[in-house]
Each structure stands twice: as structure tokens, then as C-alpha cells.
């Protein structure tokens, strides 16, 4: 190897990692490209006349919710610019998650599982596993560039901007390769790596949302903001990509330096000794589930609480943007209901995130089963139903808590901003309308766990992705009605705009109950399935 003994074996490790990820990476990349292609087709269909495009520009320019979700409102006078505005933040998120999971799996994931130790005992240098993981993740980020460009060009968008959008997505994701490489040196558990990088991704998203809505420098504190600052199909700036590359190089150098300062298998944060005996609460399957879930649940509750504060704070900007944009009055109702429409959008995003938490919590049960930790517990006087109920109760109660915390945070900020204390209870109770939809997602995950354990993880996350895509795009895409109807959020009244509807919510709750029952029954009738 030309790079010296500390990177010996990197080439072999890269080939092995590419082989392990030969299905995962193409799916991530195809998913990112598909988002761009779908958005391109739908935008060209929706805004095929200059009048439609002008109306779109006027309304979006005054919609803080769209800007908070999407990006800086630039280049909206062309259809291509509208595509970049609508889809870039989601594609960057997808690519960043791909980079996080790829880098994490091949660094701390392998190290925690003991595979790195096995490899390092062979002719593999100390830096080789990290370098190989980073190389594979960087290759995947690079592959995003032609994939996204092809999606743009293939659907009829100008080539230069298509390529720049692809480069922005790849460069943004590359920064998260670097962040994951650093975090993987700091903490000894792969779960903690994903938690911390996921948190960083959330903070980056919120910072750019704040900066974009306010039109301020705050966007420049976020790697997602850098990736979006290229403004494809309008200003066509390449310098933010250079910034992403420079920061990535710095992060990777830091990761390499940290790697030299720690032992294999350990983090930089020293492991503290635990308790010599268990607290009284750790005496039942529910106590065990609470113990296993409490860290992640706390993280989600804090993250959604903060997101709620940001969403609540941006609600005021909706009125300001509306006042600044006289053309918008022609297309939109008065500013009061505009704020409520914005709030309804934020509450459904909270519901999506709470649903994602519920699915991740239910799938923890599957992880316990597949690594063999369910076996010794189920060999005690603990029934299958009680064991699964422990995880299920935490998932349902935790997801409800997370949703209400976010709703309460939005309500609290609105109450302070408007000086009307009733806003708090109004938005908190509006949030409860979204609970049954969250329970349906949790129930679906339990049913999949009980009935199709091997594919439960892929299918349950697929369900979350489906609901997310339908919620975000159903309005702009001309899909058949049943596509929308299959999402539980489609049956949820969009509180506070729409009235609380007892019938629909009772129906969703009953569906969630049926799914839970199916899952428990399935689990009681099947073998424990490892791996």
C-alpha cells in the first residue's frame, strides 16, 4: 500500500464494505434521485403557465411554513428554481442520513460488534477502517451527483443547474460523513453515534429554517444552509461547495487525530462504573423497557420541544411575510387563518416525527430479539405478551408525550407572542387530534414485528416514509385518491384549521388497537427469530 502501514488494507476493506452495502447504497441514491424526478415532473405540470408560476411565487414567498421546510425562496420565477426550492432540503436530508448510516456502520458499528478487532489483528493498519468507511461514504455522496443531475436532465430541466443541485446534495452529505467520523471516535456505542449525529442534523435543519424565514446570516451556520446556498438554476454559485469540502477535510483530520488518542473499542468519553445492584424499578418487562428506552425518549422529547419553540416563533413571520407581499392577498385568505394553516402544517410534521419515534421504539423490540437479548428474558416467568407490551406501552406513551411536548412548546411561544394565554390550551388540544394517527403508525410497526419479523424494520420505516411523502406532496401531485387515503394523516382533521372529528379519530384509534392485537397474537404464535 502506498499510504504507509497505518492505512494498510484500506483497499480490501473498501471492497468488503461496498459488497456489504451493495443493496443499501443504490437504494438511498435512487431514493434521492426519485425525489428530484417526482418534484420536477409535478412542478412542471402545476406551473405550466407564467400566471400559475407568478401565483406560486407570490404565495410561497409569504409562506413561512414552506420556507421553514424547504429553503431560501430564490429563483421562484422559473419552474426549475421552484423545483430546487421545493425538494433540495429533503434530498439533502436523505443524502445526509445515508452518509451518517454508512459512516457509522463501518466505523463504530463494526467496532462495537467486535469485527474491527478481528480485522485489526490482520495486516490492517490503525487508520484503515476509518479511511475505508469515509471512502465508501464519500463514494456514495459522489454518486448522488450524477444521479440527481440525471433526474433533473431526464425530466427536462437545464443541465447546468441539475448538475449543481446534485453537487450541492453530495457536498452537504459529505459534511455529515465528516461529522459522523468525528462523533464515532467520541462515543463507544453506535446507537449514541446515530443519536448525536441525528441531533446535529436536526439542529442544522432548524438553523437553516430560522435563517431562511428571517432572511438572515443564521443559514450560514448550517451545513444544509451551505448546500442550499448554491441556488441552482438561478444564481448558480459554486463557492458553497468548496466550503463544504474544506470543512469535511477539517473534520476528517480531526477524526484521524482523535483516533490516535483512544484505544480500540473505547470512546473518548470514559465509561463510568454502573450500579452494583438494580434499582427496584427494574423488576418487570415494563421496567426493563422503560430503562432501555428512556435515553432515546428524552432525546426525542427535547428535540421536538426545541423544534416546537422554533415553529411557534416562526408563526409571527407568517404575518410579516404576508404584509410584505401584497400580491399574495389575491390568492390567500386573511392573515389570521393563514397563521392557523401554518400551525396545522407544523402540527402534522410533529405527528410525522412522533410517528417516526414510535416506529423506532417498537423496532427496538425487534433489535432485542435479533441480537438474542429477548431469549433470556422470555426464558423467565415473563410472557411474550408482557414482554412486547413493555416495548409497546413505551412506544405509544412516549410518542404521545413527544407529540404533546412539541404542541405545548408551539402553544407556549404563541401565548407569549400574542399575549393570549388561551393559545396554549388551544394548540395543545389541537395536537391531541394527531394522536390516533401516530398510534396507527405504532400499531403498524407492532403488527409487522409480530407477523413479519425479518422484514419488519424495512416495512415499518417504509410506512413512515410513505406517510411523509404523501403528507408533503399529496397536494402538489396528481395521485389517485387511494394513495392519499392509505395514510392515517389523511383521515386526521387538520387542527386547528379543521374541526376535531370524533368519528374519524375513533376509527383511527380502533384501527391502531386492531393492529396492536394482530402484532401480539402473531408474536405469541411464532418462533423467536434471530438475526
Amino acid at each position: 500500500m502506498s499510504g504507509g502501514p497505518s492505512v494498510a488494507g484500506t483497499g480490501t476493506l473498501i471492497r468488503a464494505a461496498l459488497r456489504r452495502d451493495r443493496w443499501r447504497l443504490p437504494l438511498w441514491i435512487a431514493g434521492g434521485a426519485a425525489l428530484v424526478a417526482t418534484q420536477s415532473v409535478s412542478s412542471q405540470a402545476l406551473y405550466d403557465s407564467p400566471q400559475d408560476l407568478a401565483a406560486y411565487e407570490a404565495s410561497v414567498g409569504s409562506n413561512a411554513a414552506s420556507i421553514a421546510l424547504a429553503g431560501p425562496p430564490v429563483g421562484l420565477d422559473t419552474v426549475a428554481g421552484a423545483v430546487a426550492f421545493e425538494i433540495s432540503s429533503f434530498v439533502i436530508l436523505v443524502a445526509a442520513l445515508m452518509a451518517m448510516f454508512t459512516t457509522g456502520r463501518h466505523t463504530r458499528g463494526d467496532e462495537e460488534a467486535g469485527r474491527t478487532e478481528l480485522l485489526r489483528a490482520t495486516r490492517v493498519g490503525r487508520h484503515a477502517p476509518l479511511l475505508a468507511a469515509v471512502a465508501v461514504s464519500a463514494l456514495a455522496c459522489a454518486a448522488m451527483v450524477p444521479a440527481v443531475a440525471a433526474a433533473g436532465v431526464g425530466t427536462g430541466l437545464p443541465a447546468g443547474g441539475s448538475f449543481l443541485l446534485g453537487a450541492s446534495v453530495g457536498a452537504g452529505a459529505l459534511v455529515f460523513t465528516g461529522i459522523t467520523a468525528v462523533v464515532a471516535q467520541v462515543t463507544a456505542s453506535a446507537r449514541a453515534v446515530y443519536g448525536m449525529v441525528g441531533g446535529a442534523l436536526g439542529i442544522a435543519f432548524v438553523l437553516r429554517a430560522v435563517g431562511d424565514v428571517e432572511g438572515s446570516w443564521v443559514s450560514w451556520t448550517s451545513p444544509i444552509g451551505w448546500a442550499q446556498a448554491t441556488h441552482p438554476w438561478s444564481d448558480d454559485r459554486w463557492s458553497p461547495i468548496l466550503l463544504c469540502l474544506l470543512v469535511t477535510v477539517g473534520l476528517l483530520a480531526a477524526a484521524g487525530a482523535l483516533l490516535d488518542r483512544r484505544d480500540l473499542g473505547s470512546g473518548l468519553l470514559a465509561a463510568r462504573p454502573g450500579r452494583a445492584s438494580a434499582p427496584p424499578s427494574l423488576a418487570s418487562s415494563l421496567g426493563l423497557a422503560v430503562r432501555l428506552h428512556r435515553g432515546a425518549l428524552l432525546g426525542w422529547a427535547v428535540a421536538l420541544g426545541l423544534l416546537g419553540l422554533v415553529y411557534g416563533g416562526l408563526a409571527g413571520s407568517v404575518e410579516t411575510l404576508f404584509a410584505d407581499n401584497p400580491e399574495a392577498r389575491a390568492f390567500l385568505p386573511d392573515s389570521g387563518s393563514l397563521v392557523d394553516a401554518y400551525l396545522a402544517t407544523t402540527l402534522s410534521i410533529n405527528a410525522l416525527l412522533a410517528g417516526a419515534y414510535a416506529v423506532s421504539a417498537v423496532l427496538r423490540a425487534r433489535a432485542e430479539e435479533s441480537v438474542g437479548r429477548a431469549e433470556p428474558v422470555l426464558a423467565t416467568a415473563t410472557s411474550r405478551a408482557a414482554w412486547l407490551a413493555g416495548h409497546g406501552v413505551v412506544a405509544l406513551a412516549g410518542a404521545s408525550l413527544v407529540l404533546l411536548v412539541a404542541g405545548a412548546a408551539i402553544g407556549a411561544v404563541r401565548a407569549v407572542d400574542t399575549g393570549d394565554g388561551g393559545e396554549f390550551s388551544r394548540l395543545l388540544s389541537a395536537s391531541t387530534a394527531y394522536l390516533p394517527a401516530v398510534w396507527v403508525l405504532a400499531g403498524a410497526a407492532v403488527a409487522l414485528f409480530g407477523l413479519l419479523p425479518r422484514s419488519a424494520s424495512a416495512l415499518a420505516w417504509g410506512a413512515v416514509a410513505y406517510v411523509a411523502v404523501v403528507t408533503m406532496f399529496a397536494a402538489s401531485l396528481d395521485w389517485p385518491g387511494w394513495v392519499d387515503d392509505a395514510s392515517p394523516l389523511a383521515w386526521t382533521p387538520l387542527a386547528p384549521v379543521e374541526e376535531w372529528s370524533a368519528g374519524a379519530l375513533a376509527g383511527l384509534t380502533a384501527l391502531a388497537g386492531l393492529l396492536l392485537a394482530a402484532g401480539v397474537t402473531g408474536f405469541r404464535r411464532r418462533d423467536l427469530v434471530p438475526g
Binding site: 452494583a276 438494580a278 433470556p376 428474558v377 422470555l378 423467565t380
Partner: protein
Amino acid sequence: MTSVISISGLVKSFGTARALDGLDLDVAAGEVHGFLGPNGSGKSTTIRVLLGLLRADAGSVRLFDGDPWRDAVGLHRRLAYVPGDVTLWPGMSGGEAIDLLGRLQGGLDPARRAELLERFELDPRKKARTYSKGNRQKVALVAALASDAELFVLDEPTSGLDPLKEAAFQEEVRALRAQGRTVLLSSHILAEAENLCDRVSIIRRGRTVQSGSLTELRHLTRTAMTVETARPVPGLAELPGVHGLRSDAGRMRFDVDTDALDAVVGCLAGAGVRSLTSTPPTLEELFLRHYGDAEAEGAGPAAGAGGVPAPAARS
């Protein structure tokens, strides 16, 4: 004597692979029963069926007086289990895992817990993430041994232990037997079973091939001997039960059927023995000799391939 475990004709397939193919196992109350077989022969699968973690495809399985699939929870109150490959919660300390498993099983004796921690030299404050394989095994062993179970199901419990802890474990098993408790001990090491077990069942490719007391199985095993004598030993090669005798500068190597040992030692006595080593039979050799087993074929050429035909299963 009453049966604690009674399995007959057990079949379990995973997809097209038949893991258990008509397995029989009978464990009487109060005995230490060795459950022997090479890796991959179906020991752990049998135990998982016995614990109601897997569902039998065919055959009958009785645990105490119940069906382990239907009455799992009630039956589990009466048994303690140590898995072959112990996986613990990485963020939980060993002490917490012991208490959790003990409480879920129905409570454990704090004095016994402290005594066992000392005996196995396990630090209960360490996070499971930092434990070696042997220490994870000790966590499961302490949780099981500190419980008040009637039946102990131990799946290769010593595979990660050092010789001192292995000896401590063997003493604990003898103490359990003295208290009249029943132990099912799976292993792929014949010597471990010889030390501890009243009876053994030997399985191969999902079927029981032998079952009985160790004395009953003695005829199946051969001891390898190397002897150096002052004078030649005429007639040794012709003794019944001596196989594959090779002589090299006064040093003889041969295998002896266990029931011919006495005659061989008598014959050697007059020849001025200078040195004598004997190696106990291993499960691998037994399989190689009697079943020409694929798993054991890598161990070397079949020594003294003649003799005992494959016996029929007894249960």
C-alpha cells in the same frame, strides 16, 4: 423416578434445513443429565423448543407436567436458564442484569448472589459493554444459580470460563445435585460430562444416537495410551480390546477399549513401566469411530476402524 423432561420424536425445521430429526431425550428428577453433541448437532435448538421459544413441528415435548409452548410462563417459574451465547444490555451493569433476570424469574437470594459473585470473581459494577465472553457467561450463571429453581438448563455454560472458574462451576453443579435439583447440561466436551453427569444423551444431526449412564457408554470409548517399559511386553497386541499398537524404540502407543483397561494394566505390570500417559477419550473420537461423522472427519484418519457397529438409539 419421575421425568422432568420428556421428549420423543421431536422434529424442527428451519426452511428446508431439518435441525431436529426425531430427537428423544429423557431427564429424570434429581439427576445431572449431559446433553452431548458436536457443534451444530441441534443442542441449542432442542433447548429453545424446551423453553417454548421455538415451536415443535412434530413429536411430543413435556417439561415437568406441562407443554412448554402453551404453559411457558408457569413452567419458567420452576427453571433457570443459561444461554450458550450470553448477550447483555450494553449500558446496564452486570449486577443490574443479574437482578433483573433473577426478579423476572421469581426472585433470587441476596446472600447466594453475593457468595456467587465472590466465587466467580465478577465485578457487578462494570457495564456489560466492557465484559468479556467469560464475564457475560458469569452474569447468566450467577443469576441462574442464585435462584430457587427446580431445573437448571445450562447450554455450554463453561465455554468462556477459565479452569479455576470451571472447577467452581462443577462444584456448584454437584451442590445442586446434593440438594435434589435437576440439571440439563449441554456440552461438546465429553470429559466435562464425565465429571458431572449421572446420565448422558448423545445427539448427532438432530437425532439421539446414545443415551444412558456413563458406565453403560464406557464400551463406546477408548483411551489412548503411550507406555515405555524396561522389557518387551509379549502378547499385548493380542489382548482383546487393544487397537492399533505401534512400537518405536521401547515406546508403545495404542488405544484401549475402556472395559479392557484392567487387563492391559495387568499385562504391563510385570514389564517394568518407566512412563505411562493415557489420554481420555473425546467426543470427537467417539463420533469418528462409531459414526464416521462428517463433523469429525477433519480430526485425522480413523484409527482402528473395526469393531463396534453403530448402536441403535435407546431412550
